[in-house]
């Protein structure tokens, strides 16, 4: 019988300030998600016909990119969380490689999204076309800005791994960047089915 009791950490990973930002982001995006869902109820035909214009494959690729990028970030954090003594340098090198992969995926997401926006704007669609496109553009562009910021944060976190800056005792910085990146992932997890799939 396993008598081990796992003690819960008193605070979430990373700097507590990032969690305050995350709570604000959750409320902001939450209001937009609910706004979209209830606006759709009053104009189902317009929302369904407008949704057909979207490229579901592009949204699918975006999701794969973000989910996989998040996995890479988890691997980076795990690499340094247990590093002590002479292992620190090697752990930071491993974390750096995982972060490099996640940054590449972040950039791939941004490029894919720019291509999607370019196709949408090329059709003459803008914020005032109808309510569906207003929400689509607001949500995806706002999210795009968050991915951009997340990628910049990961870039800076990676710079510190180059100096073997994280260890088992000091890994709050990498955790702070990681939870922000996972927030971006969490928001997209809802955005994708809501905007691209549900009809």
């Amino acid at each position: 019988m396993n008598n081990q009791v796992k003690i819960k950490a008193p605070y979430p990973p990373g700097d507590f300030a990032i969690w305050l930002i995350i709570y604000v982001e959750l409320v902001t995006f939450g209001l937009l998600f609910i706004g979209y869902a209830f606006s759709r109820r009053g104009a189902v035909d317009i929302f369904n016909s407008s949704q057909l214009v979207l490229n579901q494959t592009s949204g699918f690729i975006d999701t794969l990119i973000l989910v996989t990028g998040s996995y890479f970030v988890v691997k980076a954090v795990n690499a340094v969380k247990t590093a002590t003594g002479k292992d620190i340098k090697q752990a930071n090198t491993i974390a750096s490689k995982w972060l490099f992969a996640s940054i590449l995926f972040g950039i791939a997401f941004l490029i894919n999204k720019l291509l999607e926006f370019s196709a949408i704007f090329g059709m003459g669609i803008n914020l005032s076309t109808n309510k569906f496109f207003m929400f689509y553009l607001l949500l995806t562009m706002f999210h795009f800005m968050h991915v951009t910021l997340g990628t910049i944060i990961l870039f800076n976190v990676r710079r510190r791994t180059k100096k073997s800056g994280y260890s088992a005792e000091d890994h709050r910085g990498i955790e702070t960047g990681a939870v922000y990146w996972h927030l971006v992932d969490l928001l997209w997890i809802i955005l994708f089915p809501l905007i691209y799939i549900i009809r």
């Binding site: 979430p12 959750l26 939450g30 949204g59 989910v67 970030v73 089915p193």
Partner: protein, 82 residues
């Protein structure tokens, strides 16, 4: 050797492929939207618990994003089904 991150990643990918196929094969029905919302909740909770690392943190910090997720998914369902 524990492979939690790998298992979570695979589940996320499988549910994402499921969502995409629903849309691509035009299988979105009122019933399947319910299934899709349940899988979306599971995906979100996996990210909260295992990627954000809140599973092993004081319950109140785990509950904040979890309650948010339940609320958003429930309101999307209410807007769709009522």
């Amino acid at each position: 050797m524990k492979k939690t991150a790998e298992i979570v990643w695979i589940v996320l990918i499988v549910f994402t492929v499921f969502a995409y196929l629903l849309g691509k094969l035009k299988l979105v029905s009122t019933f399947m939207v319910g299934v899709l919302l349940v899988t979306t909740f599971i995906k979100g909770e996996l990210i909260i618990d295992y990627f954000m690392g809140l599973k092993d943190v004081s319950l109140k910090y785990r509950l904040i994003p979890t309650v948010w997720l339940v609320l958003i998914i429930s309101l999307i369902a209410i807007s769709y089904y009522t």
